[in-house]
Symmetry: C2
Subunit: 476 residues, 2 copies
């Protein structure tokens, strides 16, 4: 499935309405897929510069993998052709089956499965975008990274794979294999999770699941996988409208959310709400050593924003020990008491001062034995002065500060807020680049950083006694 | 206070470390303040091109407003000079008073207040950035909008005023008056809220409060204000670390959060968690007619993201009625059943099709009597194809779609997601501009849109029977 010698794209076409062809044929070309690519279209002799064939049975060499872009009505014939040709995997982007809620459409899907199983062809989908595997240069999207990573992602929704891959790329998170499986008519979430659990190229398993038809097996597979690797799951269908939505999307029965919730917990799976939380957690797994505990010191700018940071850290399950007097006096040598909070959060507005004050204060905090984590928050467009010249100077200072931050020995992370002003967005992009280069974990807000770190700690310290977090007043 | 004839900036200086002068003197110049501006510095004859005076008593004309940038130790003499000069308001950016937690610093603040009160000078702060009033061209920030709006904002944190004003500007929200009051030693939150309640230039009152020393009066002022205008309050100190933070920031006793929560509710105030929720709610108040109820139809792209949208709307207190068969058939004329959810959310991927399908479907949904609100979600960088050329074409189509969306009669909003890819950020900026131009309410996510709309409905229908929202499974 992940290393086919050849791929046929059935229904590839030319012309202005060729979106599907751009997705599934042109992406393979642009991505540098090394096997044979065969467009199949009875009305064309050539597609995207490649020789086209009227039917897959007319293709001279073997065909390992077929991508179907043709209408649902024509798919039974196609799957019969796949059987005749000895195809190993048929992936159906084609939609319009059980998810429509129409009985005859559900029957059509059943027929596909029957023919495929009888003929020894594995079926992926229907109603899915299929496989992204950078190692074999398989991709349904030209702009996905060619770089392989250590995260596997199994997704019932194709859309979520775009979210996970693109959001990941911006945060330094790359994937070994991404598989969207849509209606799960044959190959299902359990098969794919089982594969990733055994896959030596995958260190962390992630999944987006709407529903299942074999909960017992899924639970067993998840339990086995979670015993070997961290497993992070987005399970949809929390609310009534969400459950109707999964049915309408992939024909999936979402099931009782409370049952799912406790089953996932029992399996040792980390359940997250959505893709942003998933990527946040991956950033912790990939770029942070495991903290000894939840005691966090928050540094950076400042005032009301520090108050907010304190609340958000506590709400997410972290604790903020108070900076002791001797350490406070030491910091006070570099930062005036006036206009600064130094008790934790510690207002360190190093930007106007540069590294001279920043480095020794970082060192002092790094040596503080009562703190397990250092979280630095930065809000470029919150600053009082945002002239173009000022922004340029401060950005250079901040880049230097990011490098200094990397000398901190404790587990650490950076939260880079933006108010989404034009200059704030530009600066955020530049600072993220600096963090990726330094391999420092960074987050778009203190709350998201705190939640990811807190869960990361919970995962690694599970079963052990940790001081309970004070969640009083938590709204999250 | 808001319309002084002249302003003296005490401690204004020249040179590379003149950040405070850039904030408080240069901003007035760049903002076009029309009164007299007097730099005061005994060591300089000129600052920023203006004649400087050694002491405010040496200034020839009257001085209505003084901004103090000098160290805390020197402020008792300054306030005595203010009394001698007949100054009306003295605003202290100067910090280092009660908020440090040091007893002698608290005494220093008490002394300032004693001298000011005895001499008839009103004191703003200390530890505050003061006043932004576009009508009188007063500003402590050169990049704030010169455009006046109808929202007043009273903030114990100066930093939050930057957040509120800049975030507001990006969303089409402008302010009549913004006042940061820091340690509230003399003029306090109640005084300022009372003023805004009576201010004909202010239609909506917003506030960021850390604590108060006169809860009884504040509650009365808030109740009176809320009877006249919508009042939205961020109250900090929900968690233990938050309460320590407010003390360390402005010396404010945050108090028991449960007491605050019920007091604010009794007063008829809308409590929000933070500035993003505040601006979101302002967007609803400013750009949306009041919906008749909570029944919402979600349109746009699609699949897994639609499932998420359904869950988020329900979690936020909105309801998603199921599209009836006749309406579904009508939509089905334009959008294929295959690959589309049409039951609500309704997957309308009009981008490849253009206005020909979009306009009639919008019209059909607008005429549906079982829906009160139309919420359109758009995720530019979630699309399968993101080549530069494709992005350009689709952006043009989307701009046209935004104009068509404005013909919808029902209350409506647009959620523009981005995964923070470079092209996604650019497209988001362009689409926001289109929305601001059309005066359409827009939000950075479905959840934030839904929460703001839900609260907006609750505010306007309070005391009346509305169908209860199904909050089962809600995590927010």
């Amino acid at each position: 499935m992940f290393h086919p010698r050849s791929i046929a794209v059935v229904g590839a076409t030319e012309g202005p309405a060729n979106i599907n062809t751009i997705m599934f044929l042109d992406s393979l070309l642009e991505f540098g897929y090394q096997g044979q690519i065969y467009p199949v279209n009875p009305r064309l002799s050539q597609v995207s510069g490649l020789k086209a064939y009227p039917n897959i049975r007319d293709i001279p060499g073997p065909v390992d993998y077929v991508i179907s872009l043709i209408p649902a009505e024509a798919t039974p014939q196609l799957i019969a052709d796949c059987v005749a040709k000895g195809v190993k995997t048929a992936q159906f982007f084609t939609a319009g089956f059980v998810e429509t809620g129409e009985k005859n459409r559900a029957r059509l899907q059943d027929e596909l499965v029957r023919i495929a199983r009888a003929g020894g062809v594995r079926l992926l989908g229907p109603n899915c975008v299929g496989i992204y595997c950078p190692a074999s240069r398989m991709s349904y999207c030209a702009d996905f990274p060619k770089e392989s990573g250590r995260v596997g992602f199994v997704a019932q929704s194709g859309g979520y794979t775009y979210l996970a891959v693109r959001m990941g790329a911006g945060r330094g998170v790359y994937y070994s294999k991404v598989i969207s499986y849509g209606n799960a008519s044959d190959v299902n979430e359990a098969d794919l999770l089982e594969y990733l659990a055994a896959d030596p190229e995958t260190d962390i398993i992630t999944a987006y699941i709407e529903g299942t038809t074999d909960g017992r097996r899924l639970l067993k597979v998840l339990t086995d996988a979670a015993a070997r690797k961290p497993v992070i799951v987005i399970k949809k269908g929390r609310t009534e409208a969400g459950r109707k939505g999964t049915m309408s999307h992939t024909g999936a029965l979402a099931g009782d959310d409370k049952v799912w919730d406790s089953a996932l917990r029992q399996a040792g799976v980390i359940r997250v709400e959505d893709v942003d939380e998933m990527v946040d957690l991956l950033v912790a797994f990939l770029f942070m050593p495991v903290p000894r505990g939840r005691r966090t010191v928050v540094i950076g700018a400042g005032g009301g924003v520090s108050v907010r940071a304190a609340e958000e850290c506590e709400s997410a399950g972290l604790m903020l020990p108070t900076v002791p007097d001797d350490l406070r006096s030491e910091i006070n040598r570099y930062f005036s008491l006036a206009g600064s909070m130094l008790r934790n959060p510690v207002d360190i507005l190093a930007e106007p001062l540069g590294d001279g004050a920043w480095a020794p204060v970082l060192k002092a905090l790094d040596g503080w034995q009562e703190a397990d984590v250092i979280l630095w928050q930065m809000s470029p467009d919150m600053e009082p002065i945002r002239t173009a010249e000022f922004c340029r100077i401060v950005l250079d200072i901040r880049r230097t500060m990011v490098r200094s931050f990397n000398s901190v020995q404790k587990p650490k992370a950076l939260a880079i807020h933006t108010l989404e002003t034009h200059s704030g967005l530009e600066e955020m992009v530049a600072l993220r680049e600096a963090c990726r280069h330094e391999k420092i974990a960074f987050y778009p807000s203190v709350y998201r950083a705190a939640l990811a770190i807190s869960r990361y700690i919970s995962y690694h310290h599970r079963g052990r006694a940790l001081p309970a977090a004070n969640l009083q007043g938590a709204r999250w």
